[in-house]
Every structure is written in C-alpha cells, then in structure tokens.
C-alpha cells in the first residue's frame, strides 16, 4: 500500500515538474520580448540578464506617435473587425443553407472549402498580386493597397474555417423550430434573425473572435498586396527588420503590441482553439 502511495506522490511531482517547466519554456520567449521592449539601447548591449527593474516607455511611445504606425494599427483593427463580421454573416447564411437544404454537390463544396483554408498563401500571392494590380479595376482605382481588398481577401481562409466550424452547431439546432415558425408564416429572414442567430450565438461569438485573430495575424497577403495606405501592423513589424535596420527595443515593443490581442482573447477562446485550428473536425 505504501509503495503505491509513494509512487502516486512521485507521479504528482513528475506531473508538476513537467508542466511548470513547460510553462516556463512557453513563456520565456514572450517574457524576453517584453524585457527587450522595456530596455534602452545601452541596457540592451550590456550583459544579458532576465531581470528587469526599469521600464523604458519611449520604445512604445515613439512608434505609437509616428503617423505611419498609427495608420498600420488602425488598418489592422479595421480590416480584422470588418472581416470577422463579414465572415460571421456570410457563414451563418451559408451554413444555414448547407444544413437545411439537400444541395447537390455539397460534399464537394466542403472539400473545396478545406483546400482554400489550407492552401499555402505563397502560392496565391502571384495571381492575386496580378489580379489586384491589373484585373480588378474601375478606371484608375484598383483593389491593390486598399483595406476593402484585404477584407474581402481574408474571407479566403476565414470563411471556409467558419463554415466548417459552424456546420455542426447549425445541425444541432432542431429543424422543428424553423418548421413551426414557417407554419406560422415567418419568412426565412425572420427565422434566421429570431431563431437561428440567438441559438447559435455562442458558436458565432467563437467564430468571430477566432476569425478576428486569424485576420489580425495574417502577414503574407498584407505584405504583397499593400504598399502604403493599407499596410497592417504585421507588415509594419516586418519592416522593422528589413527597412529601418535594427532598432531592437522598438521592434520588441511593436511585436508586443501585435501579440496583445492574443493575450487578451486567450482566456476566452482557449477551450475552442483546437476546434478552430482543425476547423471543427476535432471536437472537445
């Protein structure tokens, strides 16, 4: 009996040792990022330590007060928010259709959706760059370097994910509810807004948050399809390395700002992040 007991205690110690070290490994790079963002140039090139007592706020204030960076930040906020809302609306309509109607070829549609979600962005930059600069134009106005272009484009990977994620939730809403409403003479629109959206509310919220984060995080399309006006914060961050050289403190500060949403939303959506990244194929 005492042998199993001591084995149990060893098991507990092992579990905690493993998970405390995993937590430290996860947090170390992010902590170091924060430390660098709080240091002056002189402090930085001294002997590297992990302790930090002072906070050099200029690293944050300087980028935040430049017009270019403010523009990047607003662009990112606008693009991510509009895209998440657009995706949510379209995904509700699409999943409602896929769930309630037997549409021919809907399994091929799901396959096509998954290819859009997983396709490498790099394979799309050339055709999209050419289409955005040459084909999609009204007079002199093209989609290149516009926020609306990015908002529509991010549907490419967010919409498939949202539809896969929400199809199961939509199937979970009993069809009798809408049948009853239709018998009472309700229109499809009323059914959608009065029955489906309230019942699917939590699922829609998760979809919106995850789409928002994916849109905020996107880099490759933003880097190839914008130049000045519609640049987002991720591209701004990359410019710190390539263009302005090596102002490490400010670069760390900008990185830290760009990962703040992740830190904020983490607690809300961590239960659903697996569903999100496997587009709903793995349930928890």
């Amino acid at each position: 009996m005492s042998r199993t007991k001591s084995r149990n205690i060893l098991g507990w110690i092992g579990t905690y040792a493993l998970w405390i070290s995993m937590t430290l490994i996860t947090l170390l790079p992010i902590y170091w990022l924060f430390v660098v963002s709080a240091r002056t140039r002189v402090e930085l090139f001294g002997r590297p330590t992990l302790l930090q007592t002072s906070f050099y706020i200029d690293n944050y204030l300087k980028p935040l007060s430049t017009p270019a960076f403010q523009r990047y930040l607003t662009n990112s906020l606008i693009v991510a928010t509009s895209n998440a809302l657009l995706v949510a609306v379209l995904a509700v309509l699409a999943t409602y259709a896929l769930s309630r109607w037997k549409l021919g070829g809907s399994d091929s549609i799901f396959f096509w959706l998954i290819t859009n979600r997983m396709a490498p962005a790099a394979a799309f930059i050339l055709p999209l760059y050419l289409l955005f600069t040459r084909a999609f134009r009204l007079g002199d106005v093209t989609l290149y370097d516009t926020r609306i272009g990015l908002i529509l484009l991010y549907c490419l990977f967010n919409l498939p994910f949202a539809i896969w994620l929400m199809k199961g939730m939509m199937d979970g809403i009993p069809i009798e509810l809408d049948e009853a409403a239709f018998v009472d003479g309700a229109s499809t629109w009323t059914v959608l807004t009065r029955i489906i959206v309230p019942l699917a509310g939590p699922g829609i919220a998760v979809t919106v948050i995850l789409s928002w984060v994916f849109a905020w995080n996107e880099y490759l399309f933003a880097a190839s399809l914008t130049s000045v006006q519609a640049r987002t914060i991720t591209t701004g961050l990359a410019e710190f390395v390539t263009v302005t050289g090596t102002n490490w403190g400010e670069m760390a500060a900008v990185s830290f700002i760009s990962l703040l949403p992740a830190l904020i939303f983490l607690a809300f959506v961590q239960r659903y992040i697996v569903m999100g990244l496997t587009f709903g194929a793995v349930k928890e």
Binding site: W32, F45, M118, A123
Partner: protein
C-alpha cells in the same frame, strides 16, 4: 417554401467571394504557368512557351533545394511535435489542481501571430544581446550564431516551429484521450498487460483518427511556413532556411518572373491539394465507420 433556389441564394455570396479570391487565382496561375512572362524582360509581355516552365522547374537546383529543405523541415517538426504532444497530452489527461491554468498558458503560442513568433525568436537568438547565444557560449562554450552557421539557423527554425505548434498537437491529442473509454485499458492492466502493451495495442489504435487528422493538418501547415522563418532568418544564411514559400516570394516579388513563379505556385498548390484530399477522405471515412 423550401425551394433549392432559396438554398443556393443563401450560399451564393460565399461562393462568389471564394470563387473570385480562390478559384479565379488558381485558373490564372494555371494559364500563366504556360507562358514566359517577366515584366523586366525585353518585351515584358507574356509569350507562350508550352511546358517549358515545368521543364525548367524539375531541373532547377534552387527549386529542388527549397523543396527538399522544406520536406526535411516538415518531417522533422511533424514527427517531433507528434511525439512530444502525445507525451504531454498523456500527462495532462488526469485531473490535478492547476490543470486548466497550465493548459491555457500552453495554448498561448497558437494565438500569437506567426510574424511575432519570428520576431520573438529573433530577439532571443540575435548575436550581441540575445540570451540564447550568450548562455550557450557561457555554459557550453558553443559559438551559436544563426546569422553565420547554416545548421544553427536550420535547427533554430525547427525549434521555433516545435515551440509554436506542439501545443496544437497536445490539445488535439488531449481531446482524443479524454474521450476514450477507460474500461478496456483498466481491464487489460488487471489481466497483466504492461503499460507499453496497453499503449501499443489499445490506446494508439483507438487514437488513430485523431492522430491522422492532426498529422495531415500539421503537414500542410508546416509545408506553407513563411512568416516566422522570414522574420527569423530571412531565408539565410545563404539558402539554408529558404523554404518553398520564401522561394516563391523571391521568384515572384524580387525577380518578377511571373511565368516561372506560376509553375512553382502550381506545384506547391498540387501538393497541398493531395494532402487536403487525403485528409478529407480520412475525415469522411471516419464518419462512416462511426455510424
């Protein structure tokens, strides 16, 4: 009331947007892939060349190098993440105080922008003030420099990817393990099987659907890695971390070789299509077995 027209009408906006943003570009590269087109060439106009772009592609050492480098990277990270993630999920499946805290922190890298992951790791490894070179030199006497040594850069990209994506594997495995029935394992242990046999003959076969799904998703994600590697090493030193995505970027944006870039894009798209299709088959196949 329930006419099919209504259904397609609700689906239409989605199909239109995805058609313009997804299908149209695909057919566009499909066509351009058969043309010789470089805006800075003598004519700057597309010229029909038949299959010449693809002929060039299969002999191009730059492309083949990038491809084999990407495959080596992909296989290494996916295998290490699967093993590590499975072990960690085993250690997280039982209840203990603080479990949800550890789980939440563990999921953090999944939410961080890949580009910020790259920046973070660059700050860790940059020669001069990064902590990695400093302590490796001080404790082990290793001259660690990702700007100079190809192996160091390559190994760092692998480590970074493992840091970034192991939590994903852990959490999917955890979802799978938590849903497994307990009785067969306990019965087998009572009957005198050891833990290894239980794992090998009971747990792993029952986990197969989750493992297959996770593997395919990770394979596709690893094949298209660009952002974090680009910010960490920029593809260098030399071409040691120039993965296929970065190679496409160079061909298209730096050399503006549109025809050849289309051919490369198409081939990368082809690989993803194969993997996607296998994943889709696996997913729907699993659905059938469970019915």
């Amino acid at each position: 009331m329930r006419s099919n027209r209504m259904g397609w009408g609700l689906l239409a906006p989605t199909l239109i947007i995805l058609g313009i943003m997804g299908l149209l570009p695909f057919f566009y590269v499909l066509v351009v892939g058969f043309f010789d087109w470089n805006v800075v060439s003598a004519t700057g106009k597309p010229i029909w060349t038949g299959a010449n772009n693809f002929r060039r592609l299969v002999f191009d050492p730059n492309f083949l190098g990038a491809m084999s480098r990407t495959l080596l990277f992909t296989v290494t990270v996916v295998v290490s993440e699967l093993v590590l993630g499975f072990v960690l999920a085993q250690a997280l499946v039982k209840e203990f105080p603080g479990k949800s805290f550890f789980r939440t922190i563990h999921a953090l890298p999944l939410m961080v922008a890949p580009i910020a992951v790259g920046a973070t790791w660059r700050l860790m490894t940059v020669p001069g003030f990064g902590i990695a070179p400093y302590y490796l030199d001080r404790w082990f006497g290793i001259d660690y420099n990702i700007g100079r040594y190809a192996e160091h850069a390559f190994a760092t990209t692998i480590l970074m990817d493992v840091w970034h994506w192991t939590p994903f594997v852990t959490l999917t495995m955890l979802a799978g393990l938590s849903a497994l029935p307990k009785e067969p394992m306990e019965q087998a242990l009572v009957d005198g099987a050891n833990r290894w046999q239980v794992l090998r003959h009971l747990t792993l076969p029952m986990m197969m659907p989750v493992i297959i799904t996770t593997t395919f998703i990770r394979l596709m994600d690893a094949l298209r890695v660009v952002d974090e590697v680009y910010l960490l090493t920029g593809g260098g030193p030399g071409d040691s971390t120039r993965f296929i995505g970065i190679h496409i970027w160079r061909v298209v944006m730096t050399w503006t070789d549109y025809g050849y870039g289309s051919a490369v894009s198409l081939l990368v798209y082809y690989f993803t299509l194969v993997l996607c299709w296998l994943l889709f088959i696996a997913l729907t196949q699993i659905g059938r077995q469970q019915e």
